[in-house]
Amino acid sequence: MNTAVRPIHSGQAPTDPVVAPDPHVLRAVLSNAAYFRYWRACAAMGPVFLAAFLICWGALGHNIPPIPADHTAAQMGEFFRTHYNEVRAGMAGAMLFGVLYLPWTLSITKVMEWINPRENNIVTTLQMWGGGLTVVPLVTSSVFWLTGSYRPDVLSDITLQMLYDQGWLLIDMFYAITTIPMVAIGVAGLADQRARPLFPRWACWYSIWAGISFLFELLMPFFKSGLFARQGWLNFWVEFLVWFIYILVITYYVFKAIPRLEQERAALLSKA
């Protein structure tokens, strides 16, 4: 908590003004080296996640592009019975590397804490929770595809089709949990009062736009072909590309922000 409030006994009004302590980011308890330890490692998890996810979920899992929603159950059954080992390996990898989205999110949170350290941390907290919870659809959707590849020889075509659909419906339709941190980063970044903000304004607006652009996924359950279907050029190629670019852009500016914050904090420590 940011505020330490003196206990108020019943029937007795506080006489002293409530004094909010400095936010923890400004406390000079830790040396700079200790304070910034692991920040870069966490930030690097973003590109690592992206590369691994593209290989495991995308290439091995045959999700780039996805199997079209208008394919028949028999075609889906044939896919699983032919490629079950690749899908198993891909989804196991996706579940392993998918969680790297969490440390990457935390590195952004740490930078955001410095944007306006004397204001409340609602937006920063939303970013942390939203980014952290993004792991859920990434990992859970992989379970459905993994289940399909686990016993494809005994599962019916319809069941395999349902599992594949369920995986895609989850990863596409849970977009809003990813929209929250994207909008939060943009909103917080735009409030940065520095002459040269930690996240440049164009990156903030891109982040907000990218998060909101996921709204097109709302139409995904209504179509099995065309631009709004899961394999459609808009709801797959554009939306996923927009998300991948967002990851790279934000990672770049987190790496640019860390040395600047080290200097800012060092200056604060020298004054203390």
Binding site: W209, G226, L227
Partner: protein, 201 residues
């Protein structure tokens, strides 16, 4: 303090400089326009393959309603330009007044679109009727969501101008909101002829 006095005050004080918010919001607008352009290309490509169906479906749309909506958005856009001018001149009351007028005129677009949607749905016309109506609902629906966002932005700016000092930062925000509102106009100016006017009637 009246508008004139505020303007005089602003002239004697440091001039309101444009903040860095305007170039930033252009990224949002350009990215949005790129996606809409892709949708327009998608529409035209589909249209080339099903010209008769698209012409026949387009003929069922009410052109007068489309023209009326165009006039609403352009007029509302003009008012928001006047709000930006007032904001950069430091005239608080005029800025609020033009933002309010822009909002009220713009609200007419929402009313007519909802009437148009309800008329189509009553006739059983949905996104699944044919590819033309898929694009009709997708394009106008996505545009409508942008319109709602613009209305919220105008309302928020109206409150902010009433409560905060009209400095360069706030004037920059008003200009950013105005740019967004113009994007809503501009998108409609493409959507209207593509959906309502293309093909023989």
């Amino acid at each position: 303090m009246n508008d004139v006095a505020q303007a005089q005050g602003s002239e004697s004080a440091a001039p309101i400089i444009r903040s860095g918010q305007v170039p930033g919001v252009l990224v949002f607008i350009i990215a949005d326009m790129i996606v809409f352009c892709m949708l327009f290309v998608g529409f035209m490509t589909e249209r080339m393959g099903q010209t008769a169906l698209f012409d026949q479906s387009a003929a069922t749309l009410d052109v007068r309603m489309g023209v009326f909506n165009t006039l609403i958005l352009v007029t509302s856009g003009l008012c928001v330009v006047l709000a930006v001018h007032a904001a950069h001149a430091g005239r608080r009351e005029a800025t609020r007044r033009w933002l309010l007028v822009s909002f009220l005129i713009g609200a007419g677009f929402g009313v007519t679109k909802l009437l148009e949607y309800s008329a189509k749905i009553e006739l059983g016309i949905t996104m699944h009727t044919n590819d033309f109506y898929m694009f009709y609902y997708a394009l106008t629906g996505a545009h409508f969501l942008h319109f709602i966002g613009g209305m919220i932005a105008l309302a928020v700016l109206w409150f902010m101008v009433g409560r905060e000092p009209l400095d360069g930062r706030l004037a920059g925000l008003v200009e950013s909101g105005a740019l967004y509102w113009h994007m809503v106009d501009l998108l409609w100016i493409f959507i209207f002829p593509m959906l309502y006017l293309l093909g023989p009637r």
